[in-house]
Amino acid sequence: MTAAMVLDVGLALLVVAVAVWIVAAGSAFAAVVGFVSFGLLLALAWARLAAVDVALTEAAIGSGVTGALLMTAASRLRPTESRSAGERPGAFLHVVAAVLAVLVSAGLAALVLIPASPAPSLAPAAAVHLPELDVLNPVTAVLMAYRAVDTLLEKIVLLLALIGVWSLAPDRFWGGAPGLWPRSRPDGELTLLARLLPPIGIVVGIYILWVGAIAPGGAFQGGAILAAMWLLIMIAGLRPVPEIHRQWLRLVLVVGPAVFLTVGFAGFFLPNGFLSYPAQFTKPLIIVIEVVLTLSIAAILGLLVAGPPERERQR
């Protein structure tokens, strides 16, 4: 057994152990903390599998943004948590969940232990056309060209999720600002962090977006980092949380999906179908779409964490 193999086996065991710990955790808060470390360990595992794009996304979205979302959910649930702890699911539900979990595990184990040889792969076919796209990172090429429709729908789902969160607002707060009350004192340490980190974070976010064309990175990871910086500034109270009725805010939220959709429909008339890019403009079009998508993703993720409006609309 080589050193690398010991590391991999240890990592795999740790991932499973943390997963078991999350399920067994007593409080929602502890489970969320476990979930965040689970995401980071999973990101390490993806990095070990040489899937750096997935690792970045897992760390930024799976662990970071989802962790922040769950954290706010856990703190909202805290007052009612002890009451609902008594309402345990019945034996029948336990059995059904166990059977389903075993079936899924068995299916996955079968796929891993009895691999088809040669393993089915579309990688060579996809790699053939990479030079035409002028996008050297194969993952970005797949996301923006071959599977563009998936990427587009993903962004629209994000937008729908935000509308879902907003629709939890009581009528009198509609159009008002989300409930991220500034919790720090103006001379506190959080304010210091919110002044020091965003300049670095914004540069890193834009870099991750830009480098996505040739190396691991892209709109989603870059957008998540920008969203984190925005949230930090809002939580520290350096900038107010915007009211959700603002025109500019709504424009930022939809500009990414809207541009993507426009390019998609233009594909009907210019080249030959939905979401196909004209040959000579492929690279610039992908860059434009990625930039506006990053902007929208950052705004959507930030507002998702900020939650539903909880203050009355000011004039």
Binding site: E189, L190, L192, L193, L196, L197, I200
Partner: protein, 97 residues
């Protein structure tokens, strides 16, 4: 020269690992939140610092070395501030209790 660099790396990274181990033991064994925070910051600052220091001779260029140092500085900044925030929350809880 290579051997000297490599042995420095092994030495410094091992020393860093010792700090991480000590910090983890402290995190598990210390009785209250404030002492646990104290143990954690030693692992973060000194442990990561020594690991980064040890990796510097292995860096392929000045840019990589700069990135390593930036990672350490950012971890220090985040660690110090999060520790302060947790400590403040602990104190608030103690006062309420």
């Amino acid at each position: 020269m290579r051997v000297l660099f490599d042995s420095f790396t092994v030495l410094a990274v091992s020393a860093g690992a010792v700090f991480f181990l000590a910090g983890t033991v402290g995190l598990l064994r210390f009785p209250d939140s404030l002492s646990r925070l104290h143990a954690l910051t030693k692992a973060d600052n000194l442990g990561l610092g020594l690991v980064v220091l040890g990796l510097l001779p292995q860096a392929t260029g000045p840019l990589v070395a700069l990135k390593l140092i930036t990672v350490w500085l950012l971890a220090q900044l985040a660690g110090a501030i999060v520790t302060q925030l947790v400590a403040r929350a602990v104190r608030r809880e103690n006062q309420e209790a």
